[in-house]
Amino acid sequence: MSDSVVVNYKLAKAPIYSHCFSQDRSILALTLNSDCLVFRLIPNGKPQLVATLPDHDKTVTSVDISIHGRIVTCSQDRNAIVWEPLSDGSYKPTLVLLRINRAATCVKWAPSGYKFAVGSSARIIAICYYEQENDWWVSKHIKKPIKSTVNCLSWHPNGIMLACGGTDGYVRAFSGFVKGLDSKEQVSNSPWADKFPFGALIREWYDGAWIHGVAWRGSQEKLAFVTHNGTFNVVDASDEILTAEYPEGLPLTSVVWVNDHEAVCGGFSCHPVLFSEGANGWQFSKNIDKSVASRTPVAASFEGGDDQDENPSFGISALRKFKDLDLKGKVSTQVQECTHENAIMELAPYAESSGNVTEVSSCGLDGKVVIYRV
């Protein structure tokens, strides 16, 4: 573990596919199997579990918290649920019928907090918003020309443009304009298009590999995306794609902008990676939380009172022998290169100062939530 790690929460014994902190960073929601767990953060302490949101009956794939504190979850059971926080700390669920016939894969609140988008394996993005008259969350579909599963979504800070990436190798930008909710002023002087009718395809860019993560940089009118073949890409309104390759070459799953010229990515290499823009375009900058030269030894854990036979050294040497059999290609059992022990699934900005992200949080297949200093 290096000094770039601020906090390391070991919260689950199963993969965490998605996590989200509330606006004031007091609440942490994360997916765990077919539930969503809500934790209250305690300074210098272990997060306290305050609620379990159990209504899904298949794996929950994504969770997001709006600026108003509403939690939305989506699941492989093809539904999304909006959870309204109540004064007693519990949450009131409202089912959102997405009208899709395959799993929902990702969900994102629009910056306004009044609508959200759900990506799915049914080649559909559902834009959902609340209708007062019917007391009902309405789901409107964006279908064309998506050809395969939607992996990731990102709302532009203007709240209308929605970027998505998927397994068809395309990054697309759609308009998620909802009449009565959005106004044309939000996209006046946008360099991307003149008109934004609902569902219109504004731009599309071909990459070829699976797109795992997209992120807008509103102030720069740029879009970053990361792919399964380990590249970090930035595209702007002129359609010029700038690509930087990640030297380790492992797939990248998520991307967060740090400032206008830096972005941090995470993926199968279990630690965040920083890309930066210099005179020669975008380039790999550095690994965060990866000890290359000094491999940190992890204290061998022979816990429990199992080694109480007459000759303890015999028991330990036998244990070591079996551990060595289970090296799986590693040089030694006693090596831990980075805090995450498995792939990072999602990164999110955690702390910001004057428009620059200073800390990012991550969740991974190892059931950990880690906060890094960038």
């Binding site: 016939n101 068809d168 399964h228 073949n229 380990g230 390759e245 030297p247 070459g249 797939p251």
Partner: protein
């Protein structure tokens, strides 16, 4: 209960549409015809017979015929395979070092293609030593890129 996992849900929804092979072919591929490829094959063979493997390898890894049809690709691949297998074991490491990142990515595609067809499997040993030298040089990155690249050789 009926095995619901096997129900073809798309059959109930005519609009749903399936992903087919055409959807996966990359757009804007330059079409390469069989007649264009013949001179390149003879170029390759002559470079190989004169023992100039460095330039033969440059030919192989620059501008591979992604847009050609399957038979043309196979014909071209036979020439590539004969080049790869004629190189002596000791020279491989040196040749791999001279390639750029992009060229290594192409080379990996030919190595995997070689291992997937019977002609190449007969020469499996030499293909594996190429593979070994490539991964020693640039790690697993070319392999990951091979897996996700839809432009095939």
């Amino acid at each position: 209960m009926e095995d619901w996992r096997r129900i073809d849900i798309d059959a109930f929804d005519p609009d749903s549409g399936r992903l087919n092979a055409e959807d996966l072919t990359p757009p804007n591929l330059k079409v390469v015809s069989a007649s264009e490829i013949e001179p390149r094959i003879s170029q390759l063979r002559s470079a190989a017979t004169s023992g100039d493997f460095a330039s033969a390898l440059q030919l192989v890894t620059n501008d591979p015929p992604y847009g050609a049809d399957e038979t043309t690709k196979t014909r071209y691949f036979e020439a590539v395979l004969s080049v790869l297998t004629q190189v002596r074991q000791a020279e491989i490491a040196n040749l791999v070092k001279q390639l750029s990142l992009k060229q290594v990515d192409v080379l990996i595609k030919y190595l995997y293609k070689g291992m997937s067809v019977p002609e190449g499997q007969k020469q499996g040993g030499i293909l594996l030593s190429w593979f070994e030298k490539v991964t020693q040089n640039s790690g697993v990155a070319p392999v990951v890129r091979y897996l996700s690249d839809r432009r095939t050789v």
